[in-house]
């Protein structure tokens, strides 16, 4: 209950702040006091009095935040030109003249609304107030510190582009624009998060993406009310279908080429400022087993590797449960000599196969998690300890049987073959309930769990698209790029799945 109460309290807090407008005309000192009061005298805010024109005809006040603006740019493009100002002869107002003739920056805005101006200040713009005028300039001089475009680290390919998104949303938009130079590329932005004011962009290809899907995405994003957004996963969790499903219904990628390909397939991309991972929606289950590499390798190989991935998924999900079911329920299904060997190994192992399996799988998960969270320098120690503890000592101490170690290893390695990290996690997690079913009902239980899983998968939807499409509902044309990949001219970018499986 306390959870809900807390939520209500947060909602109450989110009231729009009172709008402030600039009273006309104001003295520059007053303006400075105003700003200091509003922001609480921040130490990185710079107030710079500038004389406009070589005869200092007008007095101006330039306000900006030091660390997020480009100082050179301010002095070269704002302060210098202002010095060369001279009163126009034809009687145009000094504001218009400054804007149109003197200030030579691209993004410039004139406003009298303090709320907008102060927001702009926080976005890295410089504000220019002029004594005796009721309007002020907001000049784009932002210079956010961030990473350069680097090689992708999570989704690598052998043959293919080596760019990846950065934390800067503008860079990311540029990377997409670089790949799709079409007037149909639509970018809709909005700010989310009461305090963070994070920019979120919805990108799609007009005419290719389904209008309903775009509308649905926009609708769901507009519903979000949060204090702050720190990553794209927060958005993903709030807008996805099947919130409690173990399977992700929104994909993410750090590769601009995958993003561009998804746009061409009619998907909607969601960019979140501050995250190098963009969201792709809607996605189907089979999408998670396809990689960019598939399209950069020969199609025979690509198809073969896709089969390998599906096999790996099966192994990850089922290997421990099959081992448990076979050794505790269905011994007659093993070849006799294998059974003899397994029985010899299990001789003296104190735990039932199920406990043994759970123990080893949990040990593996602990080691894996430790390997990820450890500082890189210590990582090696983990792998050494892991190899010795899991591999040898456990067997020699008679705690687990050697065959169990093989099962755990093959499960672990298979799980790393799955290209999408998010679905690999879901499947790795699901093998534990699978093991429970196998341990209590044998293959009957495994089949039962698989049935339940299949039913769940078939009932899932991602923004109106059936999750199991194009397998169920079946689309023959899309089979060319599902389990196998044929040569590109044989299938259009936009699959039947996105066209037809809406209900």
């Amino acid at each position: 209950m306390s959870f809900f109460r807390r939520r209500r309290r947060i909602e109450q807090k989110q009231q729009p702040s009172k709008p402030v407008t600039l009273k006309s005309p104001q003295s520059l000192d007053e303006v400075q006091q105003w700003i200091n009061k509003y922001f609480g005298e921040p130490s990185d805010m710079i107030f710079r009095n500038v004389g406009i024109g070589n005869d200092n005809k007008y007095k101006g006040l330039l306000v900006f935040i030091q660390d997020i603006t480009n100082q050179d740019y301010i002095s070269e493009q704002i302060i210098k030109p202002l010095k060369s100002f001279s009163q126009p002869a034809d009687g145009t107002s000094p504001i218009d003249y400054l804007k149109d003739t003197i200030l030579s920056t691209g993004d410039i805005l004139v406003s009298s609304d303090f709320t907008t101006l102060f927001d702009d200040l926080l976005m890295g713009k410089a504000l220019l107030f002029i004594e005796g005028q009721k309007q002020a300039f907001s000049i784009a001089v932002d210079d956010w510190k961030g990473r350069q475009v680097e090689q992708p680290s999570a989704q690598t390919v052998v043959r293919g582009p080596r760019e990846s998104f950065t934390e800067n949303i503008n860079t990311n938009k540029a990377l997409i624009r670089k790949r799709i130079r079409s007037q149909d590329l639509q970018i809709k932005s909005r700010r989310l998060g009461k305090y963070t004011q994070t920019e979120i962009s919805i990108i799609y290809l007009k005419g290719v993406a389904d209008d309903d899907v775009v509308k649905e995405v926009e609708k769901r994003i507009d519903k979000i009310q949060l204090d702050g957004i720190s990553g794209s996963n927060q958005i993903e969790e709030l807008i996805q279908d099947g919130k409690f499903s173990p399977f992700p219904t929104i994909d993410n990628t750090e590769r601009p080429d995958i993003t561009a390909a998804s746009l061409l397939e009619g998907k909607v991309i969601i960019l979140v400022n501050g995250t190098p991972f963009v969201l792709i929606a809607p996605v189907v289950f089979m999408h998670f087993f396809q990689t960019a590499e598939d399209y950069y390798a020969r199609f025979y190989l690509a198809s073969a590797i896709r089969f390998l991935r599906v096999l790996s998924v099966m192994i990850t999900l089922l290997a421990p449960s099959i081992y448990i079911a076979l050794t505790t329920f269905h011994q007659e299904m093993l070849p006799t000599r294998l059974l003899t060997n397994l029985a010899a190994q299990r001789e003296g192992v104190p735990f039932p196969a199920f406990v043994e399996a759970v123990m080893m799988e949990v040990t593996f998960e602990i080691l894996r998690e430790a390997g990820i969270r450890m500082p890189r320098a210590v990582g090696q120690a983990v792998s050494v300890v892991g190899a010795i503890v899991i591999g040898q000592a456990a067997v020699e101490a008679g705690i687990v049987s050697a065959a169990m170690v093989i099962v755990v290893s093959i499960t672990a390695i298979s799980s790393f073959v799955i290209p999408s990290y998010s679905i690999a996690n879901s499947i790795r997690l699901l093998r534990f309930p699978m093991m429970i079913f196998a341990g209590s009902f044998g293959f009957f239980g495994v089949m039962l769990a698989l049935f339940a899983l299949t039913i769940h998968l078939c009932s899932l939807k991602s923004f109106g698209i059936s999750y199991m499409a194009p397998l169920s509902p079946f689309h023959l044309r899309d089979q060319r790029d599902t389990f196998i990949r044929t040569i590109k001219s044989y299938f259009s970018s936009k699959g039947e799945t996105l066209e037809k499986s809406r209900k």
């Binding site: 011994q331 007659e332 029985a343 299990r346």
Partner: protein, 398 residues
Amino acid sequence: MKRLLIGLFIILLLTGCWNRRELNEIAITYGLGIDKDGDDFVVTAQVINPEQVSGQKGGEASGTRSPVILHEERDKTVLGAIRKLSRTASRKIYVAHLYILVFGEEFAKAGIGDALDLIVRDQEFRTDFYVFIAKGSTAKDILATATPFSVSPAQEIYDRLHYSNRHYNPTKATGIRELLTNTSAEGIEPVVQSLLYKKSDVEPVQQIGSGPVPEPPLPTGNIAVLERDQLVGWLNETQADTYNTVTNNIKHAVSQFLCDEDQYGAIESTNVKATLKPEYQVTPKMNIDIKLTGKINELDCEQFTTTPQKIRELENIISKYLEEMHTSNIKKVQEDIGVDIFGFGREFFRKKPQIWKQLKNNWSETFSQLEVDINVKVRITGTSTTDDSYLKRLRKGK
């Protein structure tokens, strides 16, 4: 929530195979022997000790304990006796991985039918093990003998039969399924391979290299002929050869033939196919066409030249030789044993069901007098890697 609970409850009711047992709770039985003593069944189980059998290193005290253990119990039913075995075996006897099932000769003479119902009925028995009759001994004698090659005697016997069945004509491997079918089917009677119990007078070899090379303690014996479930006679080697040829139980046969006055050659057949054609005019008659394709693999006649004409002649000689052999063998079986092991009756039943209705009541007598016409066609496709006999070159060189 209510629905979920009901669903879970239903799942609990569906547990048809609630027989969870760990690998170290079962006694994997490789060989099972059944004898009869008075009214009681005597069941012998050869249970393995996995650690000693698997051949893995690092097992506790590997090689110091016996790989197999023999348990024996008697009771009024087979299952009763098997369950009684748990008095001596610390685990449940697990028969799904049975290699061999042995019946003692005395029991077989009296009829093994009494013991078969359990095997038909029990779901734990897989129907892929071989059946044997212990010739001149009890099943226990066979299962109590250690073998030199494999640590588990039952496994060795199984392997021996399994491979011999492929490569050696007279061997017949009878699986339990075939036995069960043929004991109850019309117009065919089962045969079962036998094992001889040979009491070894040689002390078991303690160290490699010391003492004489041991002979296999359980040689394969003749094939036993059963009528229904009773042992009625034995086939000798060439009769077994004929049996396997006629019943198409030969894959890669080796047929020997006389190529010179007293010298032999051998052809290895790649394909042997016997076709049974029942015929009925006044009296029933069975025509058997045997087609044999193969190549010469051994030729001990130096005079023989492998020209095409000679080989054609040879084909005729072999055909005639095999024809005579098979004819006389079948005749012997008809006269001496008088049991239709070849399935001639079944062939009548399949191809001439109307006639079979008349014949079936008196089939065993009809079989003894049945006219059998064997026609062998041999085709030699090659002479392997050389042409004339090596002997020719050997003698000529000197």
